[in-house]
């Protein structure tokens, strides 16, 4: 995977985000500081970082549901977010999809209606779209559950539904925030395979945040390692494992093991000093 071909799709420059420090107090906590990254068209970038390293905050700002303290975000060269910009535009007119940690399905809508919701909102729900959605539901193994309410489905199925909901309206860039975090290992592996299969159908540009090294390598073309707060990108690893990848057997490959070890050490350097012997 070579980034390039007319510059990055998504670019983050010198991003910073502080929390607190209200009422004139001088204890503002910088969660992110001087963070820059660029993602090429069709690239699957995974971002690994220790917990509390501002991974979700980073995605929230790219999705425009949070505002940076400093720095800018660009989509195809256009500045879409800067500290001075007046109004946030969540999802940047449906150009940026966001699959969050929780599935965030509407509890009062059936599975199919949840999946069709963005298409309805964007007035793009026609026969074509319905056919595409049906195919996605089939690929994600959700056929037969279209008329169920979210609470009637398993956690894994809800994650799949939330993934399909975003893939259905086809945003060029998709952000994912540890979407499989709360699931058991078996379901996770299944969902990794599902995600890679869905991604291979139409190579979207994806930024996938995780604290799980295996997941970061198995899915990504490139792994970015974040420092602990204030977070910035400290290391970058290209994943030269061939695609399509068999997630189940990937772990056995020597290339995987070498990469795993490098990333593990990189993350270990980010551990709090007290815990380093």
């Amino acid at each position: 995977m070579t980034p390039g071909k007319g510059g990055p799709v998504l670019e983050v420059r010198d991003l910073a985000r502080c929390f607190g420090g209200r009422d004139g107090r001088d204890d503002a906590l910088a969660v992110i500081e001087g963070l820059s990254l660029a993602v090429a068209e069709g690239e699957f970038v995974t971002v690994a970082g220790p917990s509390g390293s501002g991974k979700s905050t980073l995605l929230n700002m790219i999705a425009q549901i949070d505002r940076p303290s400093e720095g800018t975000i660009h989509l195809r060269g256009e500045t879409i977010l800067a500290p001075g910009k007046a109004d946030l535009n969540p999802g940047w007119n449906c150009q940026i999809g966001y699959v969050t940690q929780e599935d965030n399905l509407l509890p009062w809508r059936r599975l199919l209606d949840n999946i069709l919701l963005p298409l309805r909102a964007q007035r793009r729900l026609d026969a074509d779209a319905r056919t595409r959605v049906a195919a996605l539901i089939e690929t994600a193994g959700l056929t037969g559950f279209e008329r169920y309410y979210p609470h009637e489905l398993s956690g894994g199925m809800r994650k799949r539904a939330s993934l399909v909901r975003t893939l259905a309206y086809d945003p060029p860039v998709i952000l994912m925030d540890e979407p499989f975090g709360a699931l058991d290992a078996q379901t996770r592996t299944e969902l990794h395979a599902d995600l890679l299969r869905l991604w291979s159908l139409k190579r979207k540009t994806i930024v996938f945040v995780t604290h799980d090294i295996t997941e970061a390598i198995a899915l990504g073309d490139r792994v970015l390692v974040l420092s602990r707060a204030p977070a910035r990108v400290v290391d970058e690893y290209r994943v030269d494992l061939p695609r399509p990848r068999d997630v189940d057997h990937l772990i056995a490959e020597p290339a995987f093991a070498r990469l795993y070890e490098s990333i593990r050490q990189s993350l270990a350097r980010q551990a709090p000093k007290a815990r380093r012997a």
């Binding site: 999705a63 999802g91 940026i96 966001y98 969050t100 809508r109 009637e152």
Partner: protein, 255 residues
């Protein structure tokens, strides 16, 4: 719950116990304190025959219903409007809280001076009582809506009306039903109290007339009719709620 047969038998037994207790009190305390059940039944039959019962039920329910519609809609809609302007809700809050603190019962005589002894004064009275109940719980529902769900809905392209219909309204629905459960009996009570003060028809006026003639049977009959109305209206509300919130019913059961 155990077998439904046990529940039904228990209810019959309790009902029978109440009838016995009532009869006992009637015997001990006399006609003027506790009306006999037989006399009440006869009175009910009389006013059902001469049309007074239906007319008075109609008048009271019209007042309660119209007041509930006006006050309820206003109390439900206003929180959505005032939360659209940042800071407006916070500015308004102490005034609404103060207005809520005014004892509405004490306002009833004033409302009759302003709007006369007819329908209008009771409708306004009921509306006032209901408005605050709906207003505060709808506001709580809006504030309690999951901010992540709203943020994700916006990312998905939901704007304004659709965000309102798909996310905000369903989020407030449990709060609205909870407050309606309180508001419905209150609305009927408010209509009856309004009629106590000044009216020539309605169940409150019937009870008031009976009282002024020391007609204990009439007072009890009126109170029983009002009670039955409240119970019926609540049952209708429960049914509506189950339909409107069916999505959570299968998981949580009724509440």
């Amino acid at each position: 719950m155990s077998r439904p047969g046990v529940v039904i038998a228990g209810r019959l037994l309790l009902g029978l116990g109440l009838v016995l207790l009532w009869t006992l009190l009637h015997r001990v305390l006399g006609d003027h304190t506790i009306a006999g059940l037989g006399d009440i039944a006869v009175r009910l039959w009389e006013i059902a025959q001469n049309g007074v019962l239906l007319r008075d039920i109609g008048v009271t329910m019209l007042e309660a219903g119209a007041g509930l519609a006006v006050g309820g809609l206003a109390g439900f809609a206003l929180p959505f409007l005032i939360t659209r302007v940042p800071g407006f809700e916070a500015a308004l809050r102490p005034f609404i809280a103060a207005a809520m603190g005014v004892p509405k019962l004490a306002l009833a005589p004033l409302l009759i001076l302003w709007f006369g002894i007819g329908l209008l004064s009771k409708v306004v009275f009921v509306a006032l009582v209901v408005f605050f109940l709906l207003f505060f719980s709808t506001l709580a529902g809006i504030r309690g809506a999951d901010p992540r769900l709203i943020a994700v809905a916006r990312v998905l392209g939901l704007r304004e009306l659709m965000l309102l219909r798909e996310v905000m309204l369903p989020s407030t629905l449990p709060f609205v039903f909870a407050s309606l459960k309180v508001a419905l009996p209150r609305a009927i009570s408010a209509a009856v109290v309004g009629e106590f003060i000044a009216a020539d028809t309605g169940l409150g006026s019937y009870i008031q007339n009976a009282m002024s003639q020391a007609d204990t049977v009439g007072v009890f009959t009126g109170v029983i009719v009002v009670t039955v109305l409240v119970v019926v209206v609540n049952a209708v509300l429960d049914h509506t709620q189950k339909r409107a919130m069916g999505w959570r019913h299968s998981a949580i059961g009724g509440f």
